[in-house]
Symmetry: C2
Subunit: 230 residues, 2 copies
Amino acid sequence: MNRYSSQKKLLAAVDCIIFGFDGQQLKILLIQRGFDPEKGKWSLMGGYVQPDESCNEAASCILKELTGLEGVYLKQLQVFSDPNRDPLERTISVTYFALINIHDYETQISDDYHAEWFPVNKFPKLIFDHNDMVNIARKQLQHEAAIHPVLFELLPPRFTLPQLQGLYEGIYNTQLDKRNFTRKLLSTGLLTRQSDKDKQGSRKGAFFYKINKKAFRQNYLQKDFFLGIK
Amino acid sequence: MNRYSSQKKLLAAVDCIIFGFDGQQLKILLIQRGFDPEKGKWSLMGGYVQPDESCNEAASCILKELTGLEGVYLKQLQVFSDPNRDPLERTISVTYFALINIHDYETQISDDYHAEWFPVNKFPKLIFDHNDMVNIARKQLQHEAAIHPVLFELLPPRFTLPQLQGLYEGIYNTQLDKRNFTRKLLSTGLLTRQSDKDKQGSRKGAFFYKINKKAFRQNYLQKDFFLGIK
DNA sequence: ACAAAAGTGTTCTCGTTACACCCATGT
DNA sequence: ACATGGGTGTAACGAGAACACTTTTGT
């Protein structure tokens, strides 16, 4: 039944582009679709918006279902609404961008979806318009990284500067100068050096750092855009 | 009928936040809603997404219906999807941000909607969550203005630097230094000075400028975000 | 002649870039 | 002792910020 005479209803879905960082590479989490059409093909994690929930709530539920994680950093991206994007039924999809720490995830993964992490630079062809969704999310991640320094949602509790630099290099698909990178990141005051080192990557070892979340909340939460003229 | 068993459908609408600039002030275009609930109250211009059109297409149609304009600068913002946002029927709304030149519009306005321009800093309370939509659109406009210099979609074909400065001051709700503003905008190479002046605003008169659209397309179209580190 | 807005130039500061060497350690 | 990756300093440059006086012209 429909109180707005004669308007047609449609299905609304959400799809999540889930980014993770394993200390080396930036990755995305994909699943094998469990129902027709395109059953068994690689896909983003998604689901339908239920009558009693907002799209944001739907995205949180879906993320929890797959990863077991709550309180994940989630941000709405775009709506994909080509009338033929799903061949069976008119469905619009609201995409979400999620940042998670791979180590949290690994302990809680649900095996129901045959999920797998793929490097952002090399992953399979996805169903429908999901490849476009990933491309938009990658651009958005570059944007996030620029205005919202230190992507702590992606980082484990302790990480090294070379790891952090590797993360930024993955996001921007470029090489950065170690000295300039270090100086800039440390100048934010958001990183606290620990007294011990990670010996995985080298003989000398690299100091661990933690995010100084208090400084983060105080200084970087509501950064606005600006013209660059006063 | 629904091929994805048991998923509930819902209505999808689009709502447009339409910005215009009259040479003095930044304004938004509002209409008086023509049907219940909330008939007669101030509202954004909107409509339902039809079965054979994408949300982007729906937004273009709606804009054309109200303003008569085609090819308007339109950008998708966010989805509003609180389950109770429309009291009569579950409806999600995809919001769009439009920039138009008030003078183009004035010649083509449709009177069917009792539309009116309001200053962005002083407009009536709107129905549902439309005030939130306007706030998000204002932030997005600040963002657009920062990465996409010279908002030519809002400008008449010929405009003066004091007018342009007034536009930016409206967008950022701040005061700018005339000398720095002029230097920065002229340094983009996007403005071409005309030989005649606008005598409206002062005895001395201010030179008219035109946008150099060729330079705009070459230099500013696909600006990416960046970290600010190399 | 004067009021009112338009137009213009210089200095300082600070953040970004480019660039090369020493350090600590496990083997 | 040496190979490997980690860590650090400095000089040059450019963009933004601060700041005040002259120009034009209608009345």
